[in-house]
C-alpha cells in the first residue's frame, strides 16, 4: 500500500519520539475542543485529560506495532476517538439522563475508517491482555518474559529451563491464549484480524 501521509503525521512521530515541544503544540491546538465536549457531556476537566491521555497512548502503541500512516488531518480523527472513548465510559458507568450534545462536524470516510482501525486495535490489545491475566500461572510468567525480552534463550536462562523447553512451552501457552481469545464474546466484534 502506498498511501500518502498527511502533514499531521508529525504528531504521530512526536508520540513515538516523546517530543515534548510538538506534543505541547498538539495539546494547545486540540485539547480545548475535547475538554469542551466532555465537560458539556457530564464529564469534568479531569475526565477529559484522562481520555486525551489514554487515546494518545493507544495511538502510540498502534504506531509502535506497525507502520502507522495518518492519511487524514489529525484533528477530526483524534476528536472522533476521544468522543467515542468518552461515550463508552459514560455508558459503562450508566449515568442516566445524559444529554449528548452533538455539534455538526463533517467526518470524512477516511477519518472514520482510521478511527475505526485505532478503536479495533485498542479493543483487541486489551482483550489479549485481559486473557493473558486470566491465563495466569506458569504460562503467564513465561509469556510475560517472552514478550518483554523477546529472546527465548534469555527467557530460558531467566527461568532456569532449557531453550527447547521454553520454546515449546511458549508456543503452547500462546495456543491456550488463542483459544481463550476466540472463546470471548468480545472477539466476534473484532473481525478484521
Amino acid at each position: 500500500m502506498d498511501k500518502k501521509a498527511h502533514a499531521d503525521q508529525r504528531y504521530i512521530i512526536a508520540l513515538l519520539n516523546n517530543d515534548n515541544r510538538v506534543l505541547g503544540e498538539l495539546y494547545q491546538k486540540y485539547s480545548g475542543k475535547i475538554v469542551g465536549y466532555i465537560t458539556k457531556n457530564s464529564g469534568t476537566y479531569d475526565d477529559a485529560q484522562d481520555v486525551i491521555q489514554e487515546t494518545l497512548i493507544t495511538i502510540f502503541h498502534q504506531a509502535k506495532e506497525k507502520n502507522f500512516i495518518l492519511t487524514c488531518p489529525f484533528d477530526a480523527y483524534f476528536y472522533l476517538l476521544c468522543k467515542r472513548k468518552w461515550l463508552n465510559k459514560i455508558n459503562k458507568k450508566s449515568i442516566k439522563q445524559v444529554t449528548i450534545l452533538e455539534e455538526i462536524t463533517s467526518v470524512s470516510d477516511e477519518q472514520e475508517r482510521l478511527a475505526n482501525e485505532t478503536e479495533i486495535f485498542e479493543k483487541r490489545s486489551s482483550l489479549f491482555e485481559e486473557k493473558l491475566i486470566e491465563l495466569g500461572g506458569k504460562c503467564k510468567e513465561l509469556l510475560d518474559l517472552a514478550f518483554k525480552i523477546k529472546k527465548m534463550d534469555k527467557v530460558a536462562e531467566a527461568l532456569g529451563v532449557t531453550y527447547g523447553y521454553a520454546r515449546k512451552k511458549k508456543s503452547e501457552c500462546i495456543g491456550k491464549l488463542t483459544k481463550m481469545v476466540k472463546g470471548s464474546s468480545k472477539f466476534n466484534n473484532l473481525t478484521t484480524i
Binding site: L23, I52, Q53, H61, S171
Partner: protein, 253 residues
C-alpha cells in the same frame, strides 16, 4: 474446537521449518481456513503483546510527558477562570447592597459548589494500591518473614505490623521493612507513627527514598490535608516509579 500444533506454527513464524515441512504447511494454510485463521491470530497476539510489553518503558516516558502537559494546561485554565471571576467581582462591587437577597442565594449556591467540589476530591483508596511484597528469598524460610509477607499481601495490616516489628527488632538495617511497617501503620490510620518512619526514610539515602515521599503524600491525602499532600507530591523526582501517579494526583487536587 480443533487442536493445532503450536510448535509448528511457532517454527513457521520464525522461519525455522525445513523446505519439506514448509511446503506441507503452506498447503494446509491454503486448504484449511480455520488453520489459516489460527496462524493469523497466533501471530497477532504475539506481535501485539510483544510490542506492548517491550515498549513499556517508552510508554511510561510518554505518559510522564503527557501528564506534565495536562498539568500545564490545567494550571493555565484555572488562571484564566480565576481572572474572569475577578473581573466579574470588581464590576459588581458598587451595587452589592441592593442585591443582599440574592447574595444569600448566591452564597448557598457557592456553599453547594464547595461541598460538591470537595466530594469529588481524589481519595486515598483511589491511589493507595500497594504492590505485593516479596520478602522471602528462595531457601530462606524465616517464619516471621513469611507471615509478614502473607499478612501484608492479604491486607491484614495489624498482623503484618506485628510480624514486621518482630523482625525489625532483630535487624534494624533493612529500610525495605521499615517502609512496609510505615505502610501498615498508615493503613491503620496511625498517621503520626507512620509519618515519623517515612520521614526518616525520606531523609535517608536508600533506594526507598522516593517511595517514602509518595507514601507521605498519601498519608496527607488520607487525612484530607491537601496542601501538605501537594508539597510532598512536588518533591517526587521524574525518575521515580510513582512520578506519574504523583502527577495525576496533583492534577486532581
Amino acid at each position: 474446537m480443533k487442536n493445532f500444533d503450536y510448535t509448528e506454527i511457532d517454527k513457521y513464524l520464525n522461519g525455522e521449518l525445513t523446505e519439506k515441512e514448509l511446503s506441507l504447511f503452506k498447503e494446509k494454510l491454503k486448504n484449511d481456513s480455520d488453520f489459516a485463521k489460527e496462524v493469523k491470530l497466533y501471530q497477532k497476539i504475539e506481535s501485539t503483546l510483544t510490542s506492548k510489553f517491550s515498549n513499556s518503558k517508552e510508554e511510561n516516558d510518554l505518559r510522564n510527558t503527557l501528564e506534565d502537559l495536562s498539568l500545564v494546561f490545567s494550571e493555565k485554565e484555572q488562571r484564566v477562570k480565576s481572572e474572569k471571576r475577578k473581573v466579574k467581582q470588581e464590576s459588581k462591587v458598587f451595587s452589592l447592597k441592593r442585591y443582599s437577597k440574592y447574595m444569600v442565594a448566591a452564597s448557598l449556591v457557592l456553599l453547594a459548589t464547595i461541598l460538591w467540589k470537595n466530594s469529588i476530591k481524589p481519595t486515598y483508596s483511589d491511589f493507595a494500591i500497594h504492590n505485593r511484597i516479596d520478602l522471602v528469598v528462595r531457601g530462606n524460610s524465616d517464619k516471621h518473614l513469611i507471615n509478614a509477607q502473607d499478612a501484608f499481601n492479604s491486607k491484614n495490616y495489624t498482623e503484618a505490623e506485628k510480624e514486621l516489628r518482630t523482625i525489625i527488632s532483630l535487624d534494624r538495617t533493612k529500610v525495605e521493612l521499615q517502609l512496609y511497617l510505615g505502610i501498615c501503620l498508615l493503613e491503620q490510620n496511625e498517621y503520626k507513627k507512620a509519618e515519623s518512619i517515612l520521614e526518616k526514610i525520606k531523609n535517608g539515602k536508600s533506594i526507598y527514598k522516593n517511595k517514602a515521599i509518595w507514601y507521605l503524600s498519601l498519608s496527607k491525602l488520607k487525612q484530607k490535608d491537601y496542601t501538605s499532600c501537594k508539597v510532598y507530591l512536588k518533591q517526587i523526582p521524574k525518575d521515580a516509579e510513582d512520578y506519574q501517579k504523583a502527577k495525576k494526583l496533583l492534577r486532581k487536587l
